[in-house]
């Protein structure tokens, strides 16, 4: 049976129902609702290292440009985010409602993670942790 989408409210009040729910057809052509949080887009099913670190940085409000330096110092230059990639990812994250703009100072824009973005980050952490745990168990 077709069920209308459940509207969920984020911390800052944006409605994000559509991107959270995926509809599929079953064998009889009926709508089947897939429960739980599904990724808005296939590419965010697993986060790349660059995406992961951008979201980590944005757990605290910060300016987009500063993220490059923060990631570099956080990872001791293991990960470098190119300015073009950073710009594209930030724009995409805003579009997908993973982060939101908090302040604009000239051309400097500050961002902060949304609850959806935080959920993504937590999911990724859980996924990575389970990998590490599995590895640890295999060593015992």
């Amino acid at each position: 049976m077709f069920k209308p989408p459940v509207l969920t409210e984020t911390t800052h009040g944006d409605i994000i129902s559509i991107i959270n729910i995926e509809y599929r057809y079953n064998n009889w052509g009926l709508h089947v609702r897939k429960e739980g949080v599904t990724m808005a887009r296939e590419k965010y099913k697993t986060l790349t290292e660059q995406m992961f670190y951008i979201l980590i940085c944005l757990q605290k409000e910060c300016c987009g440009i500063d993220i490059m330096e923060m990631v570099q110092s956080m990872t001791k230059s293991r990960i470098t985010i190119g300015p073009g990639t950073l710009y594209a990812l930030l724009a995409d994250f805003v579009k997908q409602d993973f982060i939101r703009e908090t302040a604009v100072d000239g051309r400097k824009k500050s961002y902060r993670i949304t609850s959806l973005g935080q959920q993504m980050l937590d999911n990724e952490y859980t996924r990575l942790k389970s990998l590490v745990d599995d590895y640890g168990r295999s060593k015992k």
Binding site: Q50, G64, G82, L89
Partner: protein, 464 residues
């Protein structure tokens, strides 16, 4: 050594106007920007620093000290090809790149050029997957859509020209050149589509394996192919439309059309330059240049062609009357056939020479009203044999005029025609005779049945 010398001469020619400026035409595609980076690095090491990209192809360099620089040519996906000056989003993007250590050089539409002296400056597009998606989003649909439409049009034209319209193709150099052009269009777009698909598949595989995006080989050549493709689209479109309605008269307009395309490109380029200088952006002059000018140009051409059709159409109606070559009594060896007007018109002049003429009685003398001659001449045995075969088996749609009724066709016996084969058939009103020898095929349509003597007279007159 010779190469160096040539290069020097080339550069001297280029800088003759202004010693401090060098202009080079360089084409690039979104998936071959690495080769542009290498080109700019080489120019900088030769003491020429990029100052401006004008009109998307004109690279203007400024004289500087030879310096080893690293260039990064990037696509800014939010930019537009219609941009003539930097918008706030562009400036924000440039700010990001500057903070990473890059210096902004110039921009051309979506493409932004940066350079840095430090080899270790972070790569601007550090995620190859995002870069690939950006390139594919810009290039893929456009290339595939235009390529598919052009290939389909070319296929229809080629198949038509080689089947139903084969005789026209062989009769007219214009139709033949049209066929060659469409083959050219098909080849260009097939190369484009296959080339791009192969590159995309390769790039996807490389990204999956964590390798950088592969560069397009022969990028300059590919750029040249794209320019050729653009030319061929315009040329074929105009030629095709005009060829349908104008037939051979198009020969009078083909050369002006070809020349006018160059004029159009030059005018468009100049307008683009002006719009860039005056910073008239997305809705301004550059937009008009890139969209309205070609549409306006095509419309103008269409009006021109329609005008010519009307002009020549009026002329062609009176064509037969103009073609009267002589008025003579048609007599041979004492057999008098009457006094005739002869009218003549040429149809094909290429691989098949074909012409048509009518002998029409000036009075109802001997009850013969008119004889129509359709003559085909060709030196190519394959075409000759095919035409005869079609004439005999009655494939009328191909041969237009050599139409016999195969059920009623018989070889005429008793005519004194040593090396000539003669077939005859009778339809409701007409008697039709087909004569052919090594080079020519003649169909004669008469409204009366010819006697042996009459036929001999005609045969000797037309075959000798």
């Amino acid at each position: 050594m010779v190469e160096v010398k040539n290069k020097c001469i080339e550069e001297v020619i280029m800088v003759v106007k202004n010693e401090n400026k060098l202009v080079r035409f360089h084409t690039f595609q979104y998936n071959s920007l690495t080769s542009t980076e290498k080109y700019l690095e080489q120019m900088a090491s030769n003491g020429w620093m990029l100052e401006e990209i004008s009109g998307g192809v004109k690279f203007i360099f400024k004289k500087s000290e030879p310096v080893k620089l690293h260039f990064s040519v990037n696509i800014f996906s939010e930019g537009s090809e219609f941009d003539t000056h930097l918008l706030e989003t562009n400036l924000e993007y440039i700010e990001y790149c500057k903070s990473a250590g890059w210096t902004f050089a110039c921009t051309s539409g979506k493409v932004h050029v940066f350079y840095s002296e430090d080899e270790n400056t972070p790569v601007i597009d550090s995620d190859p997957m995002i870069k690939l998606k950006t390139i594919h989003k810009i290039m893929g649909p456009k290339k595939m859509l235009i390529g598919s439409i052009m290939s389909a049009m070319a296929m229809i034209q080629i198949v038509y020209s080689l089947t139903v319209g084969l005789n026209q193709t062989e009769q007219s150099s214009l139709v033949f050149s049209n066929l060659v052009l469409w083959i050219f269009v098909l080849v260009i777009w097939a190369i484009q589509m296959i080339g791009y698909s192969a590159w995309y598949a390769k790039a996807k595989y490389a990204v999956k394996n964590g390798d950088p995006l592969p560069d397009v080989k022969n990028a300059d050549f590919r750029g040249f192919v794209i320019i050729l493709a653009a030319f061929s689209i315009t040329y074929c479109g105009i030629l095709c439309c005009a060829g349908i309605v104008l037939h051979e008269y198009i020969n009078f307009v083909v050369i002006p059309i070809c020349l006018s395309i160059f004029v159009l490109l030059y005018v468009s380029y100049k307008i683009m330059q002006v719009s860039e200088k005056r910073m008239i952006g997305r809705t301004g002059l550059k937009f008009i240049t890139l969209l309205i000018v070609p549409i306006g140009f095509s419309s103008l051409m269409f009006v021109m062609i329609v005008g010519l059709v009307i002009l020549y159409g009026a002329k062609s109606e009176n064509q037969n009357a103009d073609m009267i070559t002589n008025t003579s009594a048609f007599k041979y060896d004492g057999v008098e056939l009457g006094e005739y007007e002869q009218r003549y018109s040429e149809r094909g002049t290429f691989l098949i020479k074909s012409y048509y003429y009518v002998l029409q009685g000036r009075s109802a003398y001997k009850s013969i009203k008119s004889w129509d001659f359709y003559v085909w001449e060709t030196k190519i045995p394959a075409i000759h044999n095919r035409l005869i075969g079609e004439a005999i088996d009655g494939s009328m749609f191909r041969t237009m005029g050599i139409i016999l009724n195969p059920t009623n066709t018989e070889i005429m016996i008793g005519f004194d025609t040593k090396d000539v084969n003669v077939y005859a058939s009778q339809s409701e009103d007409d008697y039709e005779y087909l004569l052919y020898d090594e080079d020519s095929i003649v169909k004669l349509r008469s409204q009366t049945k010819l006697t042996k003597e009459q036929f001999d007279v005609i045969y000797k007159d037309i075959m000798n």
